[in-house]
Assembly symmetry: C2
Homo-oligomer: 451 residues x 2
């Protein structure tokens, strides 16, 4: 990457204490690139670079620094400087940062922050994590409806420096109630004398302050918006959420879902930035739980001691039989979880989902049964009855897998829990228990009772 | 949803052939909402609704209709009307549609499309799928650098109706070479007499026409952009990709990754819109492959016939032992695949990744070993040596799982294949083979050779 090429130059500037060079560094690069070059530098050095430019620019670059490095920086600077930085940071970035910091540290810092910002921070920190209120920014552009396009453009020029975006302008009354929205594109194209009330769109797509982040992402994506307004219970405009934050959010959720699906507690940091012990904890909890389920399977297995010792060869195919159920179950669980994550209305179609899975399950069961019947007879030279035991079991566990895999996430969702907690390994482990029962019962039936 | 409430009204309008109502329906609703209400209606009815308004509005609504319904509509309308619709659709939406249609149908349609659009369509259809050229739109706003802010705003008013966004304006010369970028916000704030050359940002973040879609998403997300310009090999501006298309793309990729991770060929349509037979094929291919690996495990198992029949109880713990390796392997594979998907530079840190996994593996192996040692002794009443066999094996397979799970995706990536093809079930199946060997070898060593 570009940033790797720049770091040696930056280190040289620091070594030579080249204030002019450091100043240029902060101004010439995109904040995102500057932040990347600063990655891995000592906190004291990062501050020497940042302090070469004004505090507004510092805040812009700081917002692009990784959360773990941000926390390191916060711990290694005077509180006075930090409080200034916090004052000029954009409202959503600063709440992100303060939300991650140690509470005592935040409390010692807030008295130094200007009153207006301090009150806003306290309010935004009070919203529960992952709801619209916690991710919005309060820096939006708004105008009254009774002015003309010409006046609107003049007023917008004054608001612009403090607004996250001026491409959508929200029309509010004196109580901040949201009445409409106008795009800057409309303003540019409209006759200067037109009143905003005659130009604005009145059915504004908005989210509630308590809506969860996934709902925000869905609405913004559905309507292809640059920003979506956030309103309180009385339809008063309290903030906006912009497209870039939603994109970050969607990527984060995709990571979280992928982790949960493989039975890993979501990571807060990047993979290589997560210490080994933290990683072991986030994985170990689930592995131990899965092992506990595995011991139940072992107990059930022990219960069938008789039949398995009379037919030694049964254990050869045990891993295959169990894996077939587990794999099918994982597929079903993933499909159902994605379906209800992407489209909430799918949750109301439980019967359709279950019948869809069941029919797919029958087709899969037939194919898998036929394949394993042939393999057991011709690759392992077992007799007809023995092949029937394996093939019959595989047909049954594949069908059982589709039902289990589709039902469990729906039940979790119904209970108000995250369906993604029904991870693939957990579905597999649970299907193992049933798989053992089905396998040995089928064996007893075909090998010992029918003949 | 809102749309479910509206459909009965719409059906009534159709029944009464209420042209005024249908016209209002098309104009009053957001195109995204109108498209949702049309979901599930017969093609003929959808066309009756759409044709109540002008072709530009038809195109806007059509763009929000699901791909399967779009194809149904395309097959049920006169070619003349379809060609007009295609002419006014935005360049990226129309290439999406034509790319999905039957080739013969496209060829019979293109002669009816106006020459300028036709040539552009042929060019865009020639880009390989999933590269920047295939997802861009050619409707961008561009200006020369030697005009003033005042002139720029005037010219922009003329370009606005044909531009996907006018919030970023690209500065090009007469050869379309990209020299800079200006935001509409800058234009609004700047002195009217200033020349664009003095205002524009010269180091433009751009992607190449052949860059893949993931790279586009990464760049746009990194710089928080509303749109990113696409240039050809000679740095000539050929199109832009907007934030909303990137958001859709990221969500699609998240779905695809989730499917692959659970060994399902990615679906083209929504879950419930995918026919059972298609679904069975997309899952069955992988299940049969996994079953084939399962039969290798069975063969290896058969090879250890002697030791497993001398120690019957070994098979009780076989599912647990294999699941422990598979679960750990799935975790590692997911972590590594996410790490290299999110940050390409992680691929160059193979040694760091491997050592990170190995150390985590040791911690997990110790915890899992200790837990299973106690469980085997006290829950199952086996003796010290027997508990050592199970606990020792679990320690080894957990370590082996982390190595296998992290190495295989990296090897796949190195070979130029999608690392996500190394799905969790495949990692588990491969680790099963090694798991059986480790289990019975440990058993022979501890139970028969040492004592």
């Amino acid at each position: 990457m570009f940033s790797e090429l720049l770091q040696p130059d930056l280190r040289l500037m620091l070594l030579e204490d080249d204030q002019y060079g450091l100043h240029e560094f902060c101004l010439a690069l995109y904040p995102a690139v500057a932040a990347e070059v600063l990655h891995g530098l000592e906190p004291a050095d990062v501050w020497r670079v940042l302090k070469a430019c004004d505090v507004e620019r510092q805040a812009e670059i700081f917002a692009f620094i990784d959360p773990p490095q941000q926390l390191e920086l916060v711990d290694n600077v005077e509180r006075e400087h930090l409080s200034k930085l916090i004052e000029v940071m954009s409202a959503d970035d600063r709440v992100d940062l303060l939300g991650r910091m140690d509470e005592d540290h935040v409390e010692s810092l807030l008295p130094l922050v200007a009153k207006a910002e301090r009150e806003e921070i306290r309010k935004m920190l009070s919203y529960p994590e992952d709801c619209a209120g916690a991710i919005m920014t309060t820096e939006y552009a708004s105008l009254p409806e009774d002015i003309t396009v010409r006046e609107a453009l003049d007023r917008l020029r004054q608001q612009a420096p403090d607004s996250e975006t001026i491409y959508y302008i929200y029309i509010t009354d004196s109580n901040r109630a949201l009445h409409g929205v106008i795009t800057l594109r409309q303003l540019i194209l409209a006759r200067p004398g037109l009143r905003l009330a005659d130009l604005m769109r009145r059915d504004v797509v908005a989210v509630k302050v308590s809506d969860d982040a996934e709902e925000v992402a869905r609405q913004l994506a559905l309507f292809d918006l640059i920003a979506i307004p956030v309103v309180d219970e009385e339809n008063r405009l309290v903030g906006i959420i912009t497209h870039d934050d939603v994109l970050d959010l969607v990527q984060e959720e995709a990571n979280e879902d992928a982790y949960l699906q493989s039975a890993i507690e979501p990571l807060e940091n990047d993979y290589l930035d997560t210490p080994v012990v933290t990683m072991a904890k986030k994985r170990g909890v689930w592995l131990l739980l899965l092992a506990a389920v595995g011991f139940i399977t072992a107990k059930v297995n022990e219960g069938f001691e008789g039949v398995s010792s009379r037919h030694d060869w049964l254990s050869w195919f045990l891993p295959l039989v169990l894996a077939s159920g587990g794999n099918t179950g994982s597929q079903s669980a993933t499909l159902v979880i994605r379906a209800i994550t992407v489209d909430r209305s799918a949750t109301r179609q439980k019967v359709r989902i279950a019948s869809h899975e069941l029919m797919t399950g029958f087709l899969l069961a037939s194919a898998m049964s036929a394949f394993s019947f042939l393999a057991v007879m011709f690759l392992f030279g077992r007799n007809l009855q023995e092949a029937m035991v394996v093939a019959g079991t595989i047909g049954l566990v594949v069908t059982m897998g589709t039902l289990l895999g589709s039902a469990l996430p729906l039940i979790f969702d119904r209970l108000g829990m995250d369906p993604a907690l029904m991870s693939n390994p957990l579905i597999s482990s649970l299907s193992d228990i049933l798989g053992v029962v089905i396998y040995f019962s089928t064996a007893i039936l075909i090998l010992e009772m029918l003949l």
